[in-house]
Symmetry: C2
Subunit: 234 residues, 2 copies
DNA sequence: TTGAGGTAAGCCGCATGCAGCATCGGAACC
DNA sequence: GGTTCCGATGCTGCATGCGGCTTACCTCAA
């Protein structure tokens, strides 16, 4: 078939996927499904079905689910299945309070100088939000966009450990916000997001990393307050 | 044998250990061994040997090792074994910088009012340090004491998520300090620890939670600086 | 003596069979 | 009709055999 010179693929000539790479791939797929509420809280994940879908045995699937378990996204119950967690109000508040602090820390501890590529990426994300505003509500697309913004924000610190923890906390509680979207005006939701991106970009262009942290912090606060409006009775 | 009234064990009448409990037990044993340098950096852990020691198959041992892997305490390499990680200098600094911030956060976010039991516990710990100062250097006992102090400090916040993260970061990097102990005067090491406990107790008695955070922060700074003395050449 | 190549042993990653647990529905009894 | 018990079903947890990877040692040749 192939080989025999010709060099059709200069780099990565048919390299098979590593174990670790496959694990990471499956992990991220399932995590995203949880984060965009494709697997909503209470959903029961079946090891057998997942192993069929990803064409591996139950063993590696179990590894992935165990990791998601440690990260608080699912809980596994013997004889039943692996269940996507509900985030209780107290935990949600704890996480957001902490994320607000960490947003400041990020700009204090080891901020990175904003690169042109990064600015470009933020502009691109803002454009995507604008596109989304024109169409009808699409919560999944919105969620994916939030994930992408989050991904970029992780790049703003050189402190890898801090970035890791931010990542953990984001995926652990961000989906609560998604669950509240139906109660909120669609355009308002997107305006909040676009504002955050715009403000962040502005601060980045000025090299004002402290400002970037404040924007993030303020945004988390807005989300916390907005959700709080619906929790007064609880 | 038993049963037939008599009630020899009023509570927990011969209840077998749950899966989760066994997992937690094995996990904590291995984590402690790593944290007190019984398994020093570079040590190769063998799934087969561990499964013999704990009298289970390789499967649950693998679960525990995978968790330790996610937490950054070990890395598993195919065909070789599970290796206790070395903490590189940069990561160490990142973690301590973060822990210093979190020490403040702990007293700001959700401090708990100090209870008499807690004060008692701190007094007890201080007594233990005094005992340790009288004897010859015993790094393992010192390490266990540090773990115990850490455990108590986790009780100082009601923010469970914050406590979790503190725990993760502590076990991930605290053993670096232990590795430097041979370079430092034994009595100085214990004095630092006793001072921290004493200062913390004093602040707790005054209900000054902010002070507690500052004491913790200052102590982390001392450790960071002390280690820094030996890293100038690196 | 030194270097390289090959071989053998040991370990982890995966697949799979089996046992224990949880749940649901039907049947039997009150 | 309502309730309780029990059996069937399906799922996760565990044990284990096998394949692939890594490494160390031994051999042989330069």
């Amino acid at each position: 078939m192939n080989s025999e010179a010709n060099a059709p693929t200069p780099i990565e000539p048919m390299r098979r996927e590593t174990q670790a790479e496959r694990f990471e791939r499956i992990y991220k797929v399932i995590r995203e499904r949880i984060s965009v509420l494709e697997y909503g809280p209470g959903t029961v994940l079946n090891e057998g079905l997942l192993s069929e879908e990803f064409d591996v045995s139950r063993t590696p699937i179990r590894s992935v689910l165990q990791r998601l378990n440690y990260e608080g996204l699912v809980t596994t119950r013997n004889g039943v299945g692996t269940i996507v967690t509900e985030v209780d109000v107290k935990t949600f508040k704890d996480i957001y309070a902490l994320r607000m602090r960490l947003a400041e820390d990020m700009s204090v501890l080891s901020p990175v100088a904003p690169s042109p590529q990064m600015l470009n990426e933020f502009h691109r994300l803002r454009e995507k939000v604008r596109k989304l505003r024109e169409g009808p509500p699409d919560h999944k697309a919105y969620a994916r966009l939030c994930n992408a913004v989050h991904e970029q924000q992780l790049e703003l610190t050189e402190n890898k450990v801090l970035a890791e923890i931010n990542d953990l906390l984001y995926y652990r509680a961000a989906r609560v916000w998604l669950a509240f979207l139906p109660n909120i005006e669609w355009d308002e939701v997107l305006e909040i997001l676009e504002n955050e991106i715009a403000d962040t970009t502005r601060a980045l262009e000025l090299g004002d990393m402290h400002g970037v942290g404040n924007v993030r912090r303020q945004n988390l606060f807005i989300i916390l307050k907005t959700i709080g409006r619906f929790l007064v009775g609880v």
